[in-house]
Symmetry: C2
Subunit: 257 residues, 2 copies
Amino acid sequence: MIKVVIIGSGSVAQHLIVAFRNAQKQENTVDLIQVFSRKKEKLWHLIDSTKVINEYDELLDADLYIIAVSDNSILEVTENLTFKNRLVVHTSGSFPIDELNDSNRRGVFYPLQTFSKNRGVDFRLVPICLESENATDYQILNRVAKSISNSVFAINSNQRKALHVAAVFVNNFTNYLYQIGNEICEQHQVPFEILKPLITETAQKIMVLSPLEAQTGPAKRCDSVTIESHEAFLKDENHLEIYKILTQAIQDNGKKL
Amino acid sequence: MIKVVIIGSGSVAQHLIVAFRNAQKQENTVDLIQVFSRKKEKLWHLIDSTKVINEYDELLDADLYIIAVSDNSILEVTENLTFKNRLVVHTSGSFPIDELNDSNRRGVFYPLQTFSKNRGVDFRLVPICLESENATDYQILNRVAKSISNSVFAINSNQRKALHVAAVFVNNFTNYLYQIGNEICEQHQVPFEILKPLITETAQKIMVLSPLEAQTGPAKRCDSVTIESHEAFLKDENHLEIYKILTQAIQDNGKKL
Ligand SMILES: NC(=O)c1ccc[n+]([C@@H]2O[C@H](COP(=O)([O-])OP(=O)(O)OC[C@H]3O[C@@H](n4cnc5c(N)ncnc54)[C@H](OP(=O)(O)O)[C@@H]3O)[C@@H](O)[C@H]2O)c1
Ligand SMILES: NC(=O)c1ccc[n+]([C@@H]2O[C@H](COP(=O)([O-])OP(=O)(O)OC[C@H]3O[C@@H](n4cnc5c(N)ncnc54)[C@H](OP(=O)(O)O)[C@@H]3O)[C@@H](O)[C@H]2O)c1
């Protein structure tokens, strides 16, 4: 059994605890022996309270320490660790591996998904991006990751950064386009609900078609009559600017084909 | 039974034929008596070939004619109709009701979804936006729409235009953000597959949270360190420009709260 400790009690830490708990019911690869949380009671609904600690010197000997704290606290946490030469990884999409304190063997265990505290996630579908400094550590990370997910990838820090930037486009920016859709609906007293099946289908299409194949609409068709009428319709300067830039980009993209 | 004729044989026409066929198995509200297709054989896999015609003077007497042809042919089709004072609607998100030929009673039957010929759609989940010039016609449209969908709305031409513009943001522009995500992955040799669960979750979150509540990421957090590092990372001018504009918009939006 691989002994694992989680440090942190936020969204990612909580989803990892649940994922390891579920995995332990199925197979005996990983044993989650301890979780560090500044506020111990935060995790009592998820794990046996005797396993939750809030002092660094209480940390047990383990094969893997997963630090799932806010990006700007990762370094501080690694500096608080009193032991040396153990395998210590973080869960961040943007923190480079070589900025971790080097008293321990370093690695990354990045689950590429957007987690919220109140939403369940099927962790078996969450891609986990792994990085380590040596092959033996990679084997440990790989076994731990595969115990909770069907989708495990070796990703170096530069690739992880690319994924993190790409995730901003497909998640944060996409959500902001939903926000604009919502604003346009509110301005004209139509329920945003009407757009929801379209939002679902747009995301589902991409599971089977490439985005290039899935692209439709007035910009793709270079339908200048519709584009001009939409531009005349948009009274919000911000909506109009974004409409113009994305329309132009789709048209330029079409020309590249 | 309400007698319906469809004019057109593209994506929307074909999905409507299937939807009416399914509805007729359940209840006897609507009878699809005829379909007009310039190329008759295009529809033989979907409907009894005796019901498919390609001459306007073969059109039977019906309670409702649904014109599902390309936007720039709608007017031409209405002008080809030899009868008068019957209920004639189109399926377009952007064509105004009063630009239809006025020899017949006019209306709109706009299914707000993105249809592709090779993808099945559960029509019961497709919102249908209805408009008519009088209340009696609205009752007919409403009964026909409800026979195939659980989601039927009275939407005037101005609201329909708002929905169409909003649909461009949540569908066409969102798909283009997927395209950028894909390009960033390709440039750094990571599989776009890794982002797909995130794309799914981003769309699903919006079913239960407002876009404002669902917004996360460096722009929302005003995390200037991450934003600057992403901007330095993006070598493609077009990606960078879109990154900057959407980041700024999300930050400005946060300030409005
Ligand atoms: N959320 C996501 O969607 C997501 C996805 C992939 C990766 N990640 C990454 O996963 C990591 C954790 O993110 P999260 O979303 O779980 O964050 P979160 O929900 O905001 O939770 C942050 C956690 O960090 C702890 N913490 C902060 N400063 C600390 C310190 N100095 N010492 C000890 N603990 C400290 C907090 O403890 P208190 O509760 O005591 O304040 C809290 O448990 C980050 O690196 C993030 O980039 C997040
Ligand atoms: N696709 C969508 O996602 C969607 C969603 C909502 C609403 N709509 C609206 O639904 C309508 C149809 O769109 P679509 O996607 O089904 O289009 P489509 O797949 O491109 O098919 C267009 C159809 O129009 C026919 N047509 C074109 N010019 C014609 C003419 N002069 N006379 C007779 N038939 C003519 C074509 O016949 P041939 O096969 O003989 O060329 C074809 O059957 C449009 O108003 C569109 O805005 C589309």
